[in-house]
């Protein structure tokens, strides 16, 4: 009898399984996994491999001394990188607008006038019969004092048509006024509001949004603009759409520009053709061009443009990781995804955000072969056990995936990982075609983070991997499927009325964004679809005969992202249109989508010995 250990070093996890082999019979005794240490295929991997082996042996109740051989896979020499670049930017020169949603604006309606400081009004510097005024109230002024001064001014015959307040007290002031005016509050940088300028304040009724200021011609009417000037303020109107309250201050020479940053062109070099594509055209155009030049040999970005810098960055990171010279790094696959990024508007007064368009790119780089032997040598030294390098990763994955009950060749295996989505199609016994598509779990995390404006990567990861719930009271939450869960102990106050991610250990992580549950859920599912559904089809098309996905009968999903609660479902949905049976693998009927390659190594080793 032999005791052998199969080890699979992946981009993010290292998996191991322990098996006792007696002739042609294999008994799996245990398995384990650990985080991969260092870049896949390099000597630092030994630490992680040692840990995974240790876990597996402990689960099997065996010791390292009893092990006869460790099997290591020929790691796929691909690693991936990510980059994201915004291609539009909204800039306000000389602050001209405030468009935000304070929870409680005061009053209602539209007020037009000239901005003046609160002190100017309280010191009676405005006379009756002067132009109508918009009063700017700093935080130092109490609401009762503000109301008193405003009422006194109105009594003197001054036309007060609106107010802008720094504190959260618009409704308190409005409740004390004899004459109803719109008041916008919580304007953080109230000191930046230019004084003596024509301005308009609008507050919509509850549940409604501003109408005049969110309409270009409304702005033109209020400020008596010429057609040329109207063209200039159109982006202001667009930025104010959907808000309940808004302020627009017209400053001479001030305007909002909504310009497209020249993002540059992407040059795709194929084996037979070459194609340049403008990044501003968006993801669809890039992916279309890519399909035309396949197989891809390299991608370069236009020098001096955003995309040029983006790809140079990816290349440099890859060169650093692998130790290869930068000019030998070749990008063998890219995945482009359209996205949007909330960016604080430059020159805004209340921390407004504008959604800017962006393109996210995942790139796959082929590294030079060879260093797996170094890993094997180092692992032998560390464990004192003979290490056998055998088998191409994709073939091993297929072999392992075939231990899933109900599968048979021809079968395609989709490995949904962190950095890449890999497809392997087994036609007969030893014939396996493979494709490595750039973009997987890490890109999903990045898209979710940027679209929701979450900078904390761990939080974005929670949003990706956990179902959501809305905390409706301190004692109950409504889950995203509509069911309600009650708690006997009060939930933490900071989760109250917020959307939370339900972690696997029963924890609740509040998501500090203003979006509702439905919006967050949609962003999450769209990100997964744009990466995994797109990549599954792309990778299968590359491995299928004549690029015909319909010719594939069975698809088995494996890899870390196949453990996700909805990714397998989204991929299956995308493949259903092509008449493919798709499901999550269950390696050896117990491991789920994990441990496929490690298991495949053992299976291959046994088969070789039996045949010999």
């Amino acid at each position: 009898m032999n005791l052998i250990v199969g080890v699979d070093i992946g981009n993010s996890t290292t998996e191991a399984c322990v098996a006792a082999v007696e002739g042609g019979d294999v008994a799996y005794l245990g398995s384990g996994l650990a985080a991969t240490t260092g870049v896949k295929g390099t000597a630092p991997n030994v630490t992680g491999a040692g840990r995974a082996i240790g876990h597996a042996l402990r689960a099997a109740g065996r010791t390292l001394q009893e092990v006869d051989a460790i099997l290591l896979n020929e790691a796929t020499p691909v690693i991936s990188g990510l980059a994201m670049e915004t291609i539009t930017e909204t800039i306000i020169t000389e602050s001209t607008m405030i468009g935000h949603n304070p929870q409680t604006p005061g009053g209602e309606g539209l007020g037009v006038g000239v901005t003046i400081a609160f002190e100017a009004l309280s010191q009676q510097q405005v006379a009756p019969g002067d132009e109508a005024v918009i009063v700017v109230i700093p935080a130092s002024v109490d609401f009762e004092e503000a109301a008193l001064v405003l009422n006194a001014a109105v009594a003197r015959g001054v036309a007060v048509s609106g107010a802008i307040a720094q504190r959260d007290d618009a409704r308190l002031i409005a409740n004390r006024l004899v004459q109803l005016i719109p008041i916008v509050d919580e304007v953080t940088h109230v000191e930046r509001v230019p004084l003596g300028m024509a301005a308009a304040v609008e507050v919509a009724a509850p549940g409604r949004t501003v109408r005049t200021l969110a309409n270009s011609y409304g702005l033109a009417t209020v400020f008596e603009l010429t057609p040329e000037e109207t063209r200039v303020v159109a982006p202001v109107a667009r930025a104010l759409m959907g808000t309940r309250s808004a302020v627009v201050v017209r400053t001479p020479g001030g305007d909002v520009t909504d310009r497209r940053i020249p993002a540059g062109t992407l040059e795709l070099h194929g084996e037979r053709a070459k194609k340049a594509v403008d990044v501003n055209g968006g993801a669809a155009e890039i992916m279309d061009a890519l399909r035309r030049v396949q197989p891809l040999t390299d991608v370069v970005g236009e020098a001096g443009s955003h995309v040029g810098g983006m790809l140079a960055g990816v290349r440099e990171t890859m060169a650093d990781l692998t130790g290869d010279p930068v000019d030998t790094v070749r990008i063998r696959d890219v995945l482009a995804a359209d996205t949007f990024v909330p960016r604080e508007v430059r020159g805004g007064l209340a921390g407004e955000f504008a959604l800017e368009n962006a393109v996210a790119l995942a790139a796959m780089v082929r590294t030079s072969r060879g260093p797996i032997e170094q890993v094997a040598r180092a692992l032998t030294e560390a464990t004192g056990v003979e290490v056998v390098v055998g088998g191409v990763e994709a073939e091993m994955a297929v072999r392992g995936a075939l231990t899933t009950p109900g599968t048979a060749t021809p079968v395609a295996v989709l490995d949904l990982g962190g950095g890449s989505t890999d497809a392997a199609l087994a036609l007969g016994d030893d014939e396996v075609s493979t494709y490595h598509a750039a973009g997987a779990g890490d890109l999903v995390t990045k898209l979710i983070g940027s679209e929701l404006g979450i900078e904390d990567r761990e939080l974005a990861e929670h949003v990706k991997t956990c179902p959501l719930a809305k905390v409706e009271s301190l004692f109950h939450v409504r889950l995203e499927d509509g069911t309600v869960q009650y708690f006997e102990k009060a939930l933490p106050a900071e989760t109250f009325a917020r959307v939370v991610a339900l972690t696997e250990d029963g924890g609740m992580v509040p998501i500090p964004v203003s979006h509702g549950l439905d919006r967050i859920r949609r962003v999450r599912r769209d990100a997964k679809r744009r990466v995994f559904a797109v990549n599954a089809l792309r990778a299968l098309r590359e491995v299928a005969q004549h690029g015909n996905v319909r010719g594939i009968d069975f698809v088995v999903l494996i890899g870390g992202s196949a453990l996700d609660f909805e990714i397998p479902e989204l991929v299956a949905e995308a493949l259903a249109d092509h008449g493919v049976v798709c499901g999550t693998g269950n390696v050896r009927a117990v491991e789920g989508p994990r441990n496929a390659v490690a298991t495949g190594l053992v299976e291959a080793w046994v088969r070789e010995r039996v045949l010999a």
Binding site: D168, L172, L474, F496, A497
Partner: protein, 110 residues
């Protein structure tokens, strides 16, 4: 007078704390009822919460303010501001009392 209102039980104090808490509630548009009481802030906040038709109570004594719910253990209020004389914090307590009723995320205390 009855109807949906946050109950404010007040035992002492010079009225400035009461003014801020009420301002916070008013800004949120949630009505409140002020009732004279005796006892420490935590205890009267709890009795206010139990009496309030919307199950939110605030207790104010000479030097502290407390926000309570009847579902919580009497000795463990949701928010307790002992010996505070910071108007912004008291205003935020008022906001939060209202937001508990409205089901809106709570304000962070300044």
């Amino acid at each position: 007078m009855s109807g949906p209102a946050v109950f404010l039980h007040v035992a002492g104090g010079d009225g400035t704390a009461l003014r801020e808490v009420r301002a916070g509630l008013e800004e949120e548009g949630v009505p409140c009822r002020v009732i004279a009481a005796a006892g420490d802030a935590v205890a009267i906040a709890y009795s206010a919460a139990c009496a309030s038709p919307v199950s939110v109570g605030v207790g104010l004594d000479a030097d502290s303010a407390c926000l309570h719910l009847p579902q919580l253990p009497p000795g463990e209020p949701l928010l307790n501001l002992p010996a505070v004389h910071v108007p912004e914090r008291l205003r935020a307590l008022g906001h939060n009392a209202a937001r508990l009723v409205k089901g809106a995320p709570l304000k962070e205390l300044p």
